[in-house]
C-alpha cells in the first residue's frame, strides 16, 4: 500500500489518536454533566453582561442544554478526527526523523 495523503508521521498521528480518544470521552462526559445541569459547571455558563438582568431558571436550563449539545458536537468532531488519524497512522508508517 502506497502512501495515502501523508500528512502525519507515526508519532504525530499516535499523539493525535490519543488526544482524539481523550477528546471523545472527555467531551462526551462533559456533555452529560452539562445535560444533567451539574452545579460545578455553572461558572462555565456565559450570560450576557447586564446588571439588571438575572437569568431565569428556564434560561439557565436552556444554556445547560446548549452547552451539552456543543460538547457532544465537539466530541463528534473528535470522533471524525480519530477515524482520520487512525487511517493516517495505519498507512503512513514511515518516520520522517
Amino acid at each position: 500500500m502506497g502512501k495515502l495523503c501523508p500528512l502525519l508521521g507515526p508519532k504525530m498521528s499516535a499523539f493525535c489518536m490519543v488526544m482524539s480518544v481523550w477528546g471523545v470521552i472527555f467531551l462526551g462526559i462533559l456533555g452529560v454533566f452539562f445535560y444533567i445541569q451539574a452545579v460545578t459547571l455553572f461558572p462555565d455558563l456565559h450570560f450576557s453582561e447586564s446588571h439588571e438582568h438575572i437569568p431565569s431558571a428556564a434560561e439557565i436550563e436552556d444554556k445547560y442544554h446548549e452547552k451539552a449539545n456543543q460538547c457532544w458536537i465537539a466530541a463528534g468532531l473528535y470522533l471524525v478526527t480519530l477515524i482520520g488519524v487512525f487511517w493516517q497512522n495505519k498507512y503512513n508508517t514511515t518516520q520522517i526523523l
Binding site: L27, V39, T40, D44, H46, I54, E66, C71, A74
Partner: protein, 991 residues
C-alpha cells in the same frame, strides 16, 4: 547510629526488610574443574569473587594468555560483524543463551574464527585489487573516449582553419582562437578562453617571441597566422599529425589522466603559473560517478589532457599532476592504437566485472553463513573471557593442583551454590569434589537486596541516596507505599492521576514489546524503567484526587453535599450588585453530618473562601503526615538499634528523640485533630469552657509559639460575665493547658537545647554561683530546672561515649588474650618463580564500610571523634525536627500549586470555548480542548509531576531516611553472565 556489632548467626528472614545475610567462603577447586565450576557460578550469578592477588599486575596473572586469546577472538568477531553490517545482511539474534563452552571448544572456535577472518580478509583484498583495477580501467576508458574527441576536434579544426585562411575577419571580431567553430565558442566560458590563449601563447613561446599576459587579449594578426600554423602542433616525436605544410617541426607531447573535479581549478591555475602558460590543458568532465581507487568512495572526476613541449616541462607537469593526486594513464598517440587499446580495455572491464561479481558472491555467502552464528559466538567468547578473568582472581595452591577463591555469597543461597559447584565438578569429570568452606571475618559484607521488576524501581530510589549498611533496615518496602502516597498528596487530581495511570498501564502491558523494541531514547528509558513507580503514583493520585474532590479542578457531588441553600429565594430574585457575595451560614446551611468521603463538593463553587478552607486543611494534613513519617522513621531506628544490640543508642538516642518529638510535634498533631473534632461553627461547650463560635477556635500556630514563649494566657473564651474576650482564639482551651505545655516544653528543652548551648554555660554558671553565694536567691523551681538541665547535659553527652570507651577497652583486652591464636587468616601463595611460599596474611584490611570510626574492636576509641559525631547528630536531629516539619509543608504548597494551576487552565483556557454559542462554539470547543489537553499533559502531568516527584524524593531521602538510615554499605556485585552480557551489549549499542 553506627555502633553496630556485627550480628552473629540468626534465623533467615525472608523478604526485603533487611539485606540478605552474606558470608565469606573459600572455594577449593580442582584445577581441572575450576573452569566448569566458575561457569556454573556465572550462570547462577550469586557469588562475588574477591581479588586474592591485588598486588599482582594483570600481566603476571595465570590465565592472562587465555584472556588475550579471547580478546583476539572478540576482535575477529567484531570485524566479522562490521563486515556483515556493511553488506546489510540481517544478523540472527535469537537472544539465546548458550552455555559457556568447554576450554577445548575454545580451540575450535579460535580455528573457525581464524579461518573465517582469513578467508574474509583474502576475499576483501582480492576484491579491493579487483575494484582498483576496475576503476582504473574505467578511468582509462573515459580518458580514451574523451581524448578522442580532443584529438578529433583539433583535427577537424586544422582543416577548418586551413580552409578559412583567406577570410578577412576583423581583429576585433575574430575569435581569439577558433577551434571547434563559432557555435562551440559560444559555449566556451571564461576559463576556456584562457585555456585557448594558452594554446596560442604556447606556440608563441615556441617561436621565441616575447609574450605578455596582455597579449592574450590583444592578439595580433601575425599571432593569428602563427596560430593557424600552430595548429600543426600535434606534430611530436612520433610525427603524428605530421603536417607537411607546417614550417615548424614542433615537438609537442602530451600526458592524459584523471583528476578530482574539485581540484581542477587549482590544478589549472598552478599549471598556468608554474609553466608560464606554456602548456595547453583540455578537460572534460566524466558524467558517471566513479569510485575512488583507494577508498572506494564515490567521487566526481575529470579527464584532462595536457600538451606541452620539451623534457623540462614534462617533468614539471608530471610533478604538478602528482601533487594534485591526478592519475596519469598512458595514452597511445595514433588513433588506431587508441582504438585498439579502447577495445582491449573494454574486454578487460567485462572480464573484471564477472570476476568481481563472483568474488562478491563468495563474500556474501561467507558472511551469510557467519551471520547466523556471530551473535552466539560473541556470547560464548564473552563468557569464556569472563571466566578466565575470574580465574585470574584466584589463588593457586602450593601444589598447583587446586585453585582457591574467596567469595561473598548469600547464606540463603549456599545450597544452590553448592549444587552449582557439584554440577561443575561432575561436568568436568573430576574425581575430587569442590569444597566450599565458610570463613569468619570481621570485614563488612556487601549489601545484597533481592529485587524483582516491581521492587527494583523503589530500591533504586533508596540506593541512589546510599547503599544500605549491611543488614540495616531497608527503607524500600516502606518507600513503596509512602513514596507514591506523598507524591499523590502533592499531585492530587483524579483526572491527571488517570492520565498518569493509563500511561504507566500502557508501559506495563506492553512491557515485552517495548523491551524488545530497544528504544534508545533516554527520556523514554527513564519513564519506562520507572513504570511501576509511575503506575503506583497514578493510582495514589487517583485516590488523593478523589479525596480532594478534584477532577481537572472540578468536583463530583457523588454522595450529596452536606450544605444546602440557606439564602431565601426573595433575596436571590432581586437584581443585585455583581460584586456582592452570598454567604452560607454554617448554622443554617450545614446539614450536621459531613460529606462521607473527602472534601465536600460545595467548596469547589465557593469562590471567596475555597482557598482558605483548603489551605488550612492541607497544611494541617501535611504536618500530620510529615510528623507521622518522622516518628515512623525514629521507630525504625529503634528496630535497627535492637537488631544491632546497641542499648546505648536506645537509651541515649532513641528515647530522648522520641520524647522530644512527642512532647512538641506529636502534641501539635493531637491539637490539630482535637481542633478538627471539637471546634465547630456553632456555639458549644468545649472541655468545660464556653465556646462562643468559630471566631474563637484556637489558633494552633500562635498557640505553638506561645507554648515556647510560655506566655500567660487567659483560660477559656468568655469572661465571667459571659462576654467574649478579646483575641479569644489565643486563650487556652482545655483545663491545665498551660501546665501541660510548660511540662512538654521543659521536657523537650531538657532533651535538647540545653545539651547544645546550655551545657558549657550552665556548668560554668552553676560552678561560679555555688562558689560565690550559694543558691539562696534562686527560687525552688529554678533550682530544679537547673539541676535537671545540668544532669541531662552530661548524661546525654558523656554517657554513651563513656560506655563505648569501656566496652572498647574490654574488647581490646579480649583481643589481646586471643591474639596469639588468630584463626581469621587467609592463605596466600606466591606463585612467582620456583620459590613457593605461603603467606599467612592476617585480615588487616580496613573495613570498607567502617561505620563512623568508632566501631567496636578496631583500635582505640577516638574520644574527640565520638564527641563530634554525637554533637553533630544531636544538632542534626533537633534542628531537623523543626526544619523537617516545616519542610513537610511542601506537601501543602505543591498541592495548592497544582490545584491552582489546573484551575487556571480550566478558567483561562477551557472556559473560553463556552462563551461562544452554536456551531462556532462547537468548533471552538474542538480546538480549545486540544490546547487544554496538550497543556494538561505537558504542564500539569509532566512538569508538575516531575516537580512533585523530586519533592517526594527529597522528603524520603532527607526527612524520612535521616532518622534511621546509615547508607554506608557497598553493593553486592555478583559474577553473573547475565549482567556481563547485558553490560557488553549496552556498551556496544552506545558506540
Amino acid at each position: 547510629m553506627g555502633d553496630y556489632v556485627t550480628p552473629g548467626e540468626e534465623p533467615a528472614q525472608p523478604g526485603i526488610y533487611r539485606s540478605e545475610q552474606m558470608c565469606l567462603a573459600q572455594l577449593y577447586l580442582q584445577s581441572d574443574a575450576a573452569y566448569q565450576c566458575v561457569a556454573e557460578l556465572g550462570e547462577l550469578g550469586l557469588v562475588q569473587f574477591r581479588d586474592l592477588n591485588p598486588d599482582v599486575s594483570s600481566f603476571q596473572r595465570k590465565y592472562v594468555n587465555e584472556v588475550r586469546r579471547c580478546d583476539e577472538m572478540e576482535r575477529k568477531l567484531r570485524y566479522l560483524e562490521r563486515e556483515i553490517k556493511k553488506d546489510q545482511i540481517p544478523m540472527l539474534d535469537t537472544g539465546e543463551n548458550p552455555d559457556a563452552p568447554l576450554p577445548r571448544e575454545m580451540i575450535d572456535l579460535e580455528a573457525t574464527f581464524e579461518k573465517l577472518e582469513n578467508e574474509l580478509r583474502e576475499v576483501n583484498k582480492n576484491e579491493e585489487t579487483l575494484k582498483k583495477n576496475f576503476s582504473e580501467l574505467t578511468e582509462l576508458k573515459h580518458i580514451l573516449r574523451k581524448t578522442q574527441t580532443f584529438f578529433e576536434e583539433v583535427d577537424h579544426d586544422r582543416w577548418r582553419i586551413l580552409e578559412g585562411r583567406g577570410n578577412s575577419v576583423p581583429d576585433d571580431e575574430r575569435p581569439l582562437i577558433d577551434i571547434g567553430g563559432q557555435s562551440d565558442l559560444d559555449n566556451i566560458s571564461g576559463g576556456d578562453i584562457s585555456r585557448m590563449a594558452m594554446l596560442k601563447l604556447g606556440w608563441r613561446y615556441n617561436v621565441r617571441q616575447f609574450w605578455h599576459e596582455d597579449l592574450i587579449a590583444s592578439s595580433e594578426n601575425t599571432g593569428m597566422v602563427g596560430a593557424s600554423r600552430m595548429n600543426s602542433f600535434e606534430v611530436d616525436d612520433q610525427t603524428r599529425f605530421n603536417d607537411d605544410t607546417s614550417p615548424l617541426k614542433l615537438q609537442l607531447r602530451f600526458v592524459a589522466g584523471v583528476i578530482q573535479r574539485e581540484r581542477l581549478p587549482a590544478f589549472e591555475r598552478l599549471l598556468w603559473r608554474a609553466c608560464r602558460g606554456n602548456v595547453f590543458l583540455r578537460t572534460s568532465e566524466i558524467d558517471d560517478v566513479l569510485n575512488d581507487t583507494v577508498t572506494g568512495e564515490p567521487v566526481n572526476k575529470c579527464v584532462f589532457i595536457i600538451f606541452f613541449q620539451g623534457e623540462q616541462l614534462k617533468t614539471k607537469v608530471k610533478k604538478i599532476c602528482e601533487g594534485f593526486r591526478a592519475t596519469l594513464y598512458p595514452c597511445p598517440d595514433t588513433p588506431q592504437e587508441r582504438r585498439e587499446m579502447s577495445i582491449g580495455v573494454m574486454t578487460r572491464i567485462e572480464d573484471l566485472k564477472t570476476v568481481l561479481g563472483q568474488t562478491q558472491d563468495h563474500r556474501h555467502r561467507v558472511l551469510v553463513a557467519a551471520s547466523k552464528n556471530v551473535r552466539m559466538w560473541l556470547t560464548k567468547v564473552r563468557k569464556i573471557k569472563s571466566i578466565y578473568h575470574t580465574l585470574n582472581l584466584f589463588n593457586i595452591d602450593v601444589t598447583q593442583k587446586c585453585l582457591i577463591a574467596e567469595v561473598w555469597c548469600p547464606i540463603a543461597e549456599l545450597d544452590r551454590i553448592k549444587m552449582a559447584l557439584k554440577r561443575g565438578t561432575d561436568e568436568s569429570g573430576s574425581q575430587v569434589p569442590s569444597i566450599l568452606n565458610r570463613m569468619e571475618t570481621s570485614e563488612a559484607p556487601p549489601t545484597y537486596n533481592k529485587t524483582n521488576k516491581f521492587t527494583k524501581g523503589f530500591q533504586n530510589i533508596v540506593d541512589a541516596y546510599g547503599i544500605a549498611t549491611y543488614r540495616e533496615i531497608n527503607p524500600a518496602p516502606y518507600t513503596m507505599i509512602s513514596f507514591p502516597f506523598l507524591f499523590a498528596v502533592m499531585f492530587g487530581d483524579l483526572g491527571h492521576g488517570i492520565i498518569m495511570f493509563l500511561a504507566a498501564l500502557f508501559f506495563i502491558l506492553k512491557e515485552k514489546q517495548l523491551e524488545a523494541a530497544r528504544i534508545k531514547d533516554e527520556i523514554f528509558q527513564t519513564f519506562f524503567g520507572g513504570r511501576y513507580v509511575i503506575f503506583l503514583m497514578g493510582v495514589f493520585s487517583i485516590y488523593t484526587g478523589f479525596m480532594y474532590n478534584d477532577v481537572f479542578s472540578k468536583s463530583f457531588n457523588l454522595f450529596g453535599s452536606s450544605w444546602q441553600n440557606s439564602i431565601p429565594e426573595s433575596t436571590l430574585e432581586k437584581p443585585l450588585d455583581p460584586e456582592s457575595t452570598f454567604m452560607l451560614i454554617p448554622e443554617l446551611a450545614y446539614a450536621g453530618t459531613p460529606y462521607p468521603v473527602g472534601v465536600d463538593p460545595i467548596w469547589n463553587v465557593a469562590e471567596a473562601n475555597k482557598l482558605s478552607f483548603l489551605n488550612s486543611l492541607k497544611m494541617k494534613m501535611s504536618v500530620i503526615f510529615g510528623i507521622t513519617q518522622m516518628v515512623f522513621g525514629v521507630l525504625l531506628s529503634y528496630q535497627n538499634y535492637i537488631y544491632f544490640k546497641s542499648d546505648l543508642d536506645i537509651k541515649y538516642m532513641f528515647i530522648p528523640q522520641m520524647i522530644f518529638l512527642g512532647s512538641i510535634f506529636v502534641y501539635l498533631c493531637l491539637q490539630i485533630i482535637v481542633k478538627w473534632l471539637v471546634f465547630g461553627a456553632a456555639a458549644d461547650s468545649v472541655f468545660g469552657y464556653q465556646y462562643p463560635g468559630s471566631n474563637c477556635a484556637p489558633s494552633l500556630l500562635i498557640g505553638l509559639i506561645n507554648m515556647f514563649m510560655m506566655k500567660d494566657r487567659k483560660a477559656g473564651f468568655v469572661d465571667e460575665s459571659g462576654q467574649q474576650i478579646d483575641q479569644c482564639y489565643l486563650s487556652t482551651w482545655y483545663p491545665g493547658q498551660s501546665f501541660f505545655e510548660t511540662i512538654f516544653v521543659l521536657v523537650a528543652i531538657a532533651c535538647v537545647p540545653v545539651m547544645l548551648f546550655g551545657k558549657p554555660y550552665m556548668l560554668w554558671k552553676a560552678e561560679k554561683e555555688r562558689r560565690e553565694a550559694g543558691h539562696q536567691q534562686l527560687s525552688y523551681a529554678e533550682i530544679v530546672l537547673v539541676v535537671l538541665a545540668v544532669v541531662q547535659v552530661p548524661i546525654m553527652l558523656f554517657a554513651k561515649p563513656f560506655f563505648l570507651y569501656k566496652r572498647s577497652k574490654k574488647q581490646t583486652n579480649y583481643q589481646n588474650l586471643h591474639n596469639h591464636n588468630n584463626h581469621d587468616e587467609s592463605v596466600r601463595a606466591d606463585m612467582n618463580g620456583d620459590d613457593v611460599e605461603v603467606v599467612h596474611a592476617p585480615e588487616t584490611q580496613p573495613k570498607p564500610a567502617g561505620g563512623h570510626g568508632h566501631g567496636h574492636g578496631d583500635g582505640p576509641l577516638d574520644m574527640a571523634d565520638t564527641m563530634v559525631y554525637q554533637a553533630i547528630h544531636t544538632i542534626e536531629f533537633v534542628l531537623g525536627c523543626v526544619s523537617h516539619t516545616a519542610s513537610y509543608l511542601r506537601l501543602w504548597a505543591l498541592s495548592l500549586a497544582h490545584a491552582q494551576l489546573s484551575d487556571v487552565l480550566w478558567t483561562m483556557v477551557f472556559r473560553q470555548c463556552f462563551a461562544a454559542d452554536g456551531y462556532l462554539g462547537a468548533v471552538l470547543t474542538y480546538f480549545i480542548f486540544f490546547i487544554f489537553g496538550t497543556m494538561s499533559v505537558f504542564i500539569l502531568v509532566l512538569m508538575e509531576g516531575l516537580s512533585a516527584f523530586l519533592h517526594a524524593l527529597r522528603l524520603h531521602w532527607v526527612e524520612f531516611q535521616s532518622k534511621f538510615y546509615g547508607g554506608l554499605g557497598y553493593e553486592f556485585a555478583p559474577f553473573s553472565f547475565e549482567k556481563i552480557l547485558a553490560e557488553e551489549r549496552e556498551a556496544e549499542e552506545q558506540l
